[in-house]
Structures are given as C-alpha cells and as structure tokens.
C-alpha cells in the first residue's frame, strides 16, 4: 500500500473514505467474495411478458433454480443483485427498467432472456414504434439467452454462465 498524507482532523467519514479509497486491496479476498456472490444470486421479481412465465417455471418445483442458489426472488430492486429481463421491453416500460436498474445496489448483473430483450425478437420490423429493440440499449447486459421463450433449462444454463463470469472476476475473457 502506498503512503497517503493524513486526512484533516475535521474530515467527515465520507470524505475520509473518498480520500483513502478501499482500505485493503486484496485479490484473494475479492476472489473469495466473488465465489460467494456467484453462488447466491438474488434475482429481481420482475416479469415483462411471456418469458416471465418460463422464468417462474424455472423457479418452481420442477426446475428449481434454488439448486444453484438463485431461487430467492426479491420483489424489491434494493435487495436484488441480478436482473432477469424476461420479456419485451416496450418504450413505455424502458424508463422504468432503467430506474429499477439504477435502484439495484452494486455489484449487479443483468441477464437478457428471450429474443425480445436481445434485439426485439419477433417484434422487430422496420417501423416498429412500440418496443425497445434490445435490453442493451438501456442497461449493460452480461448474459444473453436466445429463445422465444427460452426453456427453463436455458435460463439455468444462463445463470451458470453468469456464475462463471462472476467467479472469474477480472480474469474473465469472452
């Protein structure tokens, strides 16, 4: 760690933290945290259209996403750390999705589930006025799952890929 000049005596905690940055930089710890994060993803309860039903199916008795530590759907964006975009994002919904994304605390990830969130899917045609053609136009997406709708197995596969990505941390290569 490099030496930093001592902060002024009357500095607030916030200023202290900004000046000093994270107190410890330990790759090992960071990795450890990532291992933990990857295995307990809490998705946001958030369905947009048809794909949401398959997301529910993936969470229900047969496919049971809980096996991978990601079955704890949180209705509040503030408690969730992965957003599964399941369904068509209409233009009216776009700002809401963005607001929800901003409300989620970091670190956070997004999964685009289904053709609609990849590029507009079945609703893409010249002159389409109603939908946002692709979730990545509004928020950064980590994993794309094609399908209309993707089967629950595909969603589970997507979650496992996200786990890999999180575990790899900075070493992740596409």
């Amino acid at each position: 760690m490099k030496e930093t000049p001592p902060p002024p005596a009357n500095a607030t905690t916030e200023e202290l933290l900004t000046q000093l940055g994270p107190l410890v930089h330990l790759d090992v710890l960071e990795n450890l945290l990532n291992q933990a994060r990857a295995r307990s993803l809490w998705p946001l309860t958030f369905g947009l259209a048809c794909c949401a039903i398959e997301m529910m199916a993936a969470g229900a008795s047969r496919f049971d996403m809980d096996r991978f530590g990601s079955g704890v759907f949180r209705p509040s964006a503030r408690q969730a750390d992965v957003m599964i975009l399941a369904g068509t994002i209409s233009r009216k919904m776009g700002p809401v999705v963005k607001a929800l994304w901003d409300q989620m605390p970091s670190p956070k990830w997004a999964i685009a589930m289904g053709g609609c969130t990849i590029d507009g899917g079945p609703f893409k045609y010249p002159g389409q006025y109603a939908i946002v053609e692709g979730a990545d136009k509004i928020i950064p997406v980590d994993v794309y799952i094609p399908g209309c709708p993707p089967r629950p197995e595909a969603l589970i596969n997507g979650l496992l890929m996200l786990e890999q990505k999180i575990k790899a941390g900075k070493k992740f290569h596409v």
Binding site: I53, E54, A57, R62, S90, M93, V96, P122, F123, P149
Partner: protein, 375 residues
C-alpha cells in the same frame, strides 16, 4: 371516537396517492395502478396500462395472413394454444376451408389442456399473492405435465404455433394420447387435494369471501366475459353460445356461482378445470383416424373483400378477432378484442371502497395477462 372521525374527514390532510406498479409482484406483469387512498381505504383507482404494448395490430397490417400466425399465441401467452388455433379458425371461416375431423378433435384436446394449464398458473399465482407458497409448487408440478404433452405435439412449451390454416402441423403420437389419458386420471385426484389444501383454508376464505364483489349491472356496462361473468351467475360461454369448431358435440357444464366475489371466481375456475377434463376425455374417446390437413389449401390466403368477426372462449373470456380484408394477402386491419381489457377496466368501479390489501386479491382473481390487454 367521534373526534377521531372528525379529524379523519379532513380531506386534504388524510388522503394520499399511491403508485402501485409497474414493477410489483402482485400486478402479474407490468400493470400500474394509481390509487387515491384514505388510510387503508381506496377512494379511487385508475389502472394505467400500455407498459407491454407490442404493436400486434400494426404488425398484422404489415405482413400477410400466414406471417401473422406466430403472433396470436404471444398476445395471451397463457392460453396461446386457444389464441393461435382461434386465429386459424377465423381465417378458415373467412376463406371457407373445411378442416378434417381428426384435426378438429385434436384441436379441442389441445385447447382444453391449455385452458387447464392457464387456470393452474392462475391458481398458483393467485395464492402466491395471498401469501401461500405451497400451492404454487403443487400447481406447477401439474402444469409441467401438460406442457410436456403439448411440447410433444407442438414443439414449444408456451407460445404454441400448432394450428395451420386447414388443420394442424403435426399428428399426435400414441404417447400423447396415453399421456393425456393418464394425466386426466391423475389430475382428478390432484384437484381433490387442492380442494383440501386451499378451499377450506380459513385465511384464504377470509381474504376472498365477500371481497371484490362485482355488481351484476357491471356485466352489461363493461362487457365482462369469462370466469368473472360466470361467477356472477350468468352461464355464458362462447363454446356454448356460438359453438366454433366442434364444441357442439361435447357434453359439458358451464359452472356458475352467484356471489361474484373473489372466492366465487376461484370456485368457477376450479370447476372449469374439471369440465375441461370431461371434454378432453370425450374427445379422446371419439378421436377418429384420418388426415390432419385439408386436402386443398389455397396457395394464396386472401379472404374476399369484407369484414369478419370470429370469437373463441379463451381461458379469460371472449376473445374476438375483427378482420377487415381488402381482398389482398395482407390484412387491411385486424383488431383483437381481448377479454382482460374489458375485465380490467371494471377496476375503476370495483376497487373504490375496498381496502388496499384486498386490491391484491381482487386483481389476482380477475386473472389478467398484461400483453393481452396492451396488445
């Protein structure tokens, strides 16, 4: 006490607006409600829709009749089979195409299985909204069995595109027929279990009986259809009133109740699943051999110039297609009259006066699918 009421009636200080949705676990998708509240009581409610508007009707005007075929099952993805086959039937009627017997029977079987799966999903989510997680796991178990069966014949689990103008794309296999028969036997038993698990549950009864009563005059005012209407004591069902396909050949009852509260809507749907099973069993018994596609299918699907209306009974009510043709292969206009649109618009009248917590059970009990409302 009198004083308290005095203070509470001070309008400006005690009322407030609450925004519910569009992301809310109990609005079944992306419905938004603007509620004006006084304490816990709702003074006025305005559903705000359109968050899942996907321009189906504009798409219809931009492609030909065949290319529109995948769309209807995405309008209402819970009764996708009924919608997509209904669209086929509408076009068949418009161009005067006869469908082989076997295909008609298979269509009925698939439609009714789809209806059961839709009601099952409603059952699970409705109870989930009311706080019961267990029934959700039970009903998805049964639902998966239906999805497997439909997957077997149509190749998809949710957004089916099984019908074609003049028949069906695949014939059913023996696996499907045996599986369906087995499912019916097993599901009867399960329905009884659901009954034991839920219907007698005190908390459930307290949260639904007498809650969300729709006054009978609303039926005419708003054009309510489907299970909501039948819970008002009117035995109305498109399958019976204007039979499409071969629905006039089956014996089934139209379950009705009279109180028109959430509990009755629940009972009507449970009874409907039973009736759907009766239809499936009759269709299985009578299923004839033969082709599944009509012999002569016109290469060009172009209904004569004019206007057509065709209605089917989806899991939520009267689904009508208003098709305007100018004689070409591309529809001039297709308007979809969807049941939940009318059913949801009653909320402005039904919700005021109820408690905030009951909103969840009332919304759940009318069984809305948002993309079907917004189209």
């Amino acid at each position: 006490m009198a004083e308290l009421i005095q203070i509470a009636s001070d309008e400006d200080r005690d009322t407030f607006y609450l925004n519910m949705g569009p992301q809310h676990p109990s609005t079944h998708g992306v419905l938004r409600l603007r509620l004006h509240l006084k304490g816990e009581r709702i003074l006025s409610a305005e559903p705000i829709i359109g968050y899942s508007h996907r321009a189906h009707e504009k798409m219809a005007e931009n492609r030909n009749y065949i290319q529109f075929l995948p769309n209807p099952s995405r309008v209402d993805y819970l009764s996708g089979m009924i919608y997509s086959i209904g669209y086929c039937q509408a076009i068949e009627k418009a161009i005067g195409l006869e469908v082989p017997e076997r295909a008609e029977y298979i269509r009925v079987i698939c439609n009714e299985l789809n209806r059961i799966s839709s009601h099952l999903l409603w059952f699970g989510t409705f109870l989930l909204d009311l706080g019961g997680v267990t029934p959700f796991l039970y009903c998805f178990d049964d639902r998966e069995k239906i999805l497997d069966l439909l997957d077997l014949v149509s190749g998809s689990r949710l957004t089916y595109c099984y019908g074609r103008f003049g028949g069906l794309v695949n014939d059913v296999t023996d696996d499907f027929l045996e599986g369906t028969a087995r499912f019916c036997t097993a599901f009867r038993e399960r329905l009884r279990e659901y009954d034991r698990l839920v219907t007698q549950n005190v908390i459930f009864r307290n949260r639904t009986i007498g809650v969300g009563v729709m006054r009978p005059e609303l039926a005419q005012q708003f054009g309510i259809t489907g299970p909501c209407l039948r819970a008002m004591g009117m035995a109305r069902d498109v399958r019976r009133d204007e039979p499409y396909g071969i629905y006039d050949r089956f014996e089934f009852d139209i379950p009705t109740r009279t109180a028109s509260d959430c509990f009755d809507r629940y009972l009507v749907r449970i009874a409907e699943m039973e009736q759907s099973m009766r239809i499936v069993e009759q269709a299985l018994a009578k299923l004839p051999d033969g082709p599944i596609m009509a012999k002569k299918i016109p290469r060009k699907i172009a209904p004569a110039k004019g206007e057509y209306y065709f209605a089917v009974e989806s899991a939520r009510g009267h689904f009508g297609m208003f098709i305007v043709s100018d004689g070409s292969e591309i529809p001039y206009r297709i308007h979809l009259r969807t049941p939940s649109f009318a059913n949801l618009s009653t909320m402005r009248t039904v919700l005021p006066g109820t408690l905030l917590a009951d909103t969840v059970s009332i919304l759940g009990s009318i069984d809305i699918v948002l993309p079907e409302i917004d189209r």
